[in-house]
Assembly symmetry: C2
Homo-oligomer: 217 residues x 2
């Protein structure tokens, strides 16, 4: 297909496609004549992946390039490649979390039975850093309830992994995992906000019913 | 307290504090003499809220100002104020979702029994837009599994609301709700990524055990 069709099928403007090719995020098409370059289905898939990472995941171009390099690197088994890609998708904490919060994070993981997780991975530091911020901001009771949130997260992650289970090809598994992580955050956050509205309606309506009417005071 | 102590207690540099005052995100302290301004506990709390919204929530200054104005506006009951603040915290979808995806979102809400949610709120459009993106990117099976994610989101939202239930003061309830939304996304996303590592280890280790060793082929 020509660049116009590639653009139409992915929703990415032709100028942006050319920019991605220059930046090495997309292989160039096959040149057929001096003014015609041919693109294939692999370009469609790759372009959608890049777009999701840049637009939904708000990842910098350099990080996207790093993720794509991990996919292209055929060394190492799938599990280790997943282990290499995942931290790239986790924003590194701005500050190093305190020892106490690392311990809180590890204790929560222990209670959930998450024994296969290497305690040194950046995702654990990211969790500790959130716990620290929560406590600083007066939401220490959210930290106390971490097990409830961990159980909900485990249930979401189990669904994520069932998606991967239906993929067979290595690249497809990796792409699904990456898209599922980036878009999965957006999906869960949208659902949680709607659920909050529902629960808030139930809670505060109930409170108001219990309260005597102003006329009675 | 002086600006130096306010800065030390909140981790916000003095220059940034002055910037927030100029931008109307923080009321100015009480001037005691020509070179001494006194700040109180209300400034500490407000500054932490602003910092969380700007740094963790990555909200633009204008949006933070809007959120603070909603808190300051004493008109309307708590439930309606929560209803006004929440959409501000939900990034508006970049594109209007297709009708089909709005219907998918509403059907999922119906199945969850979320009957108190007004279908016209921006959070529902945000969900529909994520569903549309998922399908475009070849993750239609994540859309098919929306009920699993909705159940996990409901359980997280129920925990969120239990946090609010321990707050009595109107401003404290609103602040907790706002911080809980912004930091709650970060908390859940960190937990989910760790849970994914755990589940991935379980799944792919199991697959490898089932596979015959290369020597046997």
């Amino acid at each position: 297909m020509r660049i116009g069709e590639l653009s139409a099928r992915t929703g990415v403007p032709a100028a942006t496609i050319k920019y991605y090719v220059r930046e090495g995020l997309l292989s160039s098409g096959e040149r057929r004549s001096h003014n015609q370059v041919e693109y294939g289905e692999a370009h469609v898939r790759r372009l959608r992946l890049v777009r999701a990472l840049v637009e939904t995941g708000s990842l910098p171009i350099a990080t996207v390039r790093e993720v794509l390099a991990k996919i292209a690197d055929r060394e190492g088994n799938l599990d280790s490649t997943l282990g290499v890609v995942a931290p790239v998708l986790t924003p590194a904490p701005a500050t190093e979390p305190g020892e106490r919060y690392l311990e809180l994070a590890l204790a929560a993981m222990e209670r959930q039975g998450w024994h296969r997780v290497n305690p040194g991975i950046p995702q654990v530091r990211a969790l500790a850093e959130v716990l620290e911020r929560l406590e600083l901001l007066g939401l220490g009771d959210m930290v106390d309830r971490i097990d409830e949130y961990a159980a909900a997260a485990e249930s979401a992650a189990a669904s994520d992994l069932r998606l991967l289970g239906t993929r067979v090809e290595r690249d497809e598994i990796l792409e699904t995992m990456i898209l599922g992580t980036v878009l999965g955050d957006a999906l869960f956050s949208a659902l949680r906000r709607i659920a909050q509205v529902e629960m808030s309606g139930r809670t505060f309506k109930a409170r108001e019913r219990q309260r005597p009417e102003p006329e009675d005071c």
